[in-house]
Amino acid sequence: MKQQQFEQQYKDNWTEVAELCDGRGDGTRLPLVYRALCQSLALARQRGYSPSLTEHLHTLVLRAHRSIYGTVPERPLALRDMVVRTFPQRVREEWRLFLVAFIAFWGVAGVVGYLAWYDPNWAYSFASPDDLDEFTRMYQPDAARIGRGGSAGDVAMFGFYIWNNVSICFRTFAGGLFGGIPAIFSVVFNGVHGGVVAGWLTRNPATSITFWSFVVTHSSFEITGLLLSATAGMRLGLALIRPGRLSRRHSLLQASRRAFPIVVGAALLTVIAAFFEAFWSATPSLPPQVKFTVGAICWACVLGYFLFAGRRRAA
């Protein structure tokens, strides 16, 4: 068959496909006309028709292929499902890596904090004297709120915590790709920082209560979020170092599927932490007892969530 005859014969089919791809006409006909179009392309290639025709058909096939196979089923409950089920399940699956991150943070923070508390000279090995003075000044009982400037200041801090802490969370995850080392480094760094601040301020009876009542609530979400993003990052790094029986590419692909809910969850936790840190933790009008109680409830919630959520089978 000559090319012009061929074009005449199938022209209507091709224009219909183009229209359906643009969203005009009866969409249920697309698979049918798409198959006919695929046949046209195969014929055009086999019969050696002009490259401009085959290219035109090829572009059409590509578009139709995308609109047929690229349609994603609507999952309006995907995020809820991730929060209620997938996220805690994945975290429990990765308990070994989480343990590593946990020890890297709490172990380091505990040791550094103890040293700084036991002998203040140690504190100067981990932080500069200026910084330590600054911390002491920040956590004076009367300074906690004044330095911020009312509720507008709370919003400013909220923005800052989101921008800073969630970005750190994301970078920790991304850094994990390089064998997990940068993720661990980020966790250890934060552990040292947290440890030295805690140890230093606990030594001083004037700042001890202010500090602990400030951090107790939001740290439950913030530190867990950081540790989980490091866990997800280490999952990627481990997939690169030890791909097992898969190729490195497939192993990374699989690891990214497993790590994704953890990163999303870690980011959500960090956002919650920023909310508490900005609007709750620094409120001066509340007595420390209330803050400690709420803090304990938050820690219990986090622990209970990761231990029990998503245990039941999907209905």
Binding site: S50, S52, Y69, V155, F170, L252, R257
Partner: protein
């Protein structure tokens, strides 16, 4: 979906219908330009938003908080939102004629897009996207680390090209049967002839002497006539 790399670097995907689709991976140069455009767009829009916010919120601290929130959303969210809602193209990629697709040539979803854009931070290390560049240069499909992990790739967006009509010449039947490849070459030549210099056309027509039995201008006319005969009208 089967996939293999052809000699010309295009990526062939075989669809369930049995036709193979070709995607052309985009290299670091164009992608760098696309990134630079996106960066400029981001800086400009962030400064505009910053100005607007300073009018809306006279309170310095309130303004600062809302601005940092906007900064966060635009910094991490802009590429993801663009790729998911604007068929795989940020502003820079649109300008450069590129798009992000999954490895199987289908549009990216939330997971793929978020993963590849979060891992930009890894591609940035140790400085100025060095890791991403090295990875792209080592990969046959120019994928950066984020692309490999997310299972995506950046390809040229196929442009719908205007089809040029073959010049009308009195159709002549072929003297002997040509293979489909030879027919395609002949038609390709006839379609491209109007865009080629005359001397080049004659040079090519001279090469076709075994087919036309002529040389120079005459051979060129005969080639066009043969092409017209192949197209139809006989």
């Amino acid at each position: 979906m089967g996939e293999r790399l052809m000699l010309d670097g295009r990526l062939a995907l075989t669809t369930p219908e049995g036709v193979s689709l070709a995607l052309t991976p985009a290299g670091p140069g164009l992608r760098g330009f696309a990134w630079a455009i996106d960066f400029v767009v981001w800086v400009v829009s962030v400064s505009i938003v910053s100005m607007l916010l300073s009018f809306v919120f006279p309170d310095r601290r309130l303004y600062q908080g809302v601005f940092l929130l906007c900064l966060f959303v635009s910094y991490w969210g802009y590429p993801v939102l663009c790729e998911v809602y604007a068929s795989g193209r940020t502003v820079g990629k649109r300008a450069m004629g590129l798009e992000v697709v999954r490895e199987d040539g289908l549009p990216v979803g939330w997971r793929e897009s978020a993963t590849r854009n979060l891992l930009l931070a890894a591609d940035f290390l140790p400085f100025l996207y060095a890791a991403g560049l090295v990875c792209m240069l080592c990969d046959t499909r120019f994928r950066r680390l984020g692309d490999i992990v997310a299972g995506t790739q950046v390809v040229y967006r196929p442009k719908p090209r205007k089809r040029s009509a073959v010049q009308s010449e009195q159709p002549v039947p072929l003297p002997y049967t040509l293979t489909p490849e030879q027919q395609r070459a002949l038609l390709d030549f006839a379609e491209r002839a109007p865009r080629l210099p005359q001397s080049r056309c004659i040079e090519l027509a001279d090469l076709a002497e075994p087919l036309t039995g002529l040389r120079g201008e005459a051979s060129l006319r005969r080639l066009k006539a043969l092409a017209a005969g192949l197209m139809g009208g006989l």
